[in-house]
């Protein structure tokens, strides 16, 4: 099963309700490598490791098929430079 950018976005949106989400497919098409930035209220008050864990948990279903996931940013809205 190849994972698409849409799959990743859908999974993250449904479980983390992000106010900002950017997913970049860095795999050149094979769907195995992504970079992402995410801002969500669910990250408020959580350590970086816990925030990454939330992202990983949200993608639990896709994870076995993703070779590399690079979480560039996982911030609560209060720490996000571009508040929306």
């Amino acid at each position: 099963m190849a994972v698409t950018k849409d799959d990743v976005e859908a999974a993250l949106t449904s479980s983390l309700n992000p106010s900002h989400l950017q997913v970049i497919d860095t795999s050149r098409g094979c769907g195995a490598s992504f970079e992402l930035e995410i801002v969500s209220e669910k990250f408020e008050g959580k350590r970086l490791l816990e925030r990454h864990r939330l992202v990983n948990a949200a993608l639990a279903e896709q994870m076995p098929h993703i070779h590399a996931l690079s979480i560039k940013k996982a911030l609560p809205p209060s720490q996000s430079p571009a508040r929306s």
Partner: protein, 305 residues
Amino acid sequence: MAATVHLTGFRAFHLPAHTSSSPQPKTLAPASTSFSSYSPEAPSLRSIPGGRGPRRRQKGFRGSFLAASVLKISDAELVLIPSEGSGEIEGLLPPVAGVYGVYDKNEELQFIGISRNIAASIMAHRKSVQDLCWSVKVGLVDGENPDKTVLTDAWKSWMEEHLAATGKIPPGNQSENNTWVRRPHKKPDLRLTPGRHVQLAVPLEQLIDKLVKENEVVAFIKGSRTAPQCGFSQRVVGILESHGVDFECVDVLDEEHNSGLRETLKSYSNWPTFPQVFVRGELLGGCDIISSMAEKGELAAFFKK
């Protein structure tokens, strides 16, 4: 050459900058790799990739050519090394390849080395062993970028000449002496089990638990510390090294000694990917977290604690 002494096992190659093509990984840590050195007989020097078939035939020619072109140590001029702060080495010494001998205050030869940038090597020696760096003799080797064997031969000829004249090997070139040539003191990777054939008495989780609690910092990576097999692991090793962190490495791809570790560790740490860095028994994070902490300067503060 008349001398029959075997000079293998002594160390001479001093690389002021990271110019080697040995299989050492590229790292993000200029500080930790800017000063590497190894024996002229080390296997890494022989196994330079690329076709070098024709070279072999030229070796005899090169050797005799070299004997004529490199100054004898007894003919080389002794140049005073300015002490740190009082003068620049640039201008006094050439920034090119060759063999050099460093003398102490009493004009005792302390160390014979070879380098691709003599000035930089002397500068590094002056910094690390100022007391023994009084003056230096230099024999240049021809060519822009001479072959390592040419440099090694030049080194051998100086060593043999000195040995024939004094009967002594310079103290800095003796194999147990680490004053002049620092061996890359890389720790061996940790292993969870003695081997696949050994029946484990305790579950793997318990071994992992013990390992991360007994060691301050443990990095579980793909590949070995010296040759990480994945870019993320390589980056983490580089970051930890550049922060001067004393850490242990475990190769999760080592099926012989760490069989089953990948799957077990993922569930132990509830973390899906590698590398994983544990500090004092707790997962600090993977590559993204370590990188981001390093960028923000948090990592340095974290390890100071």
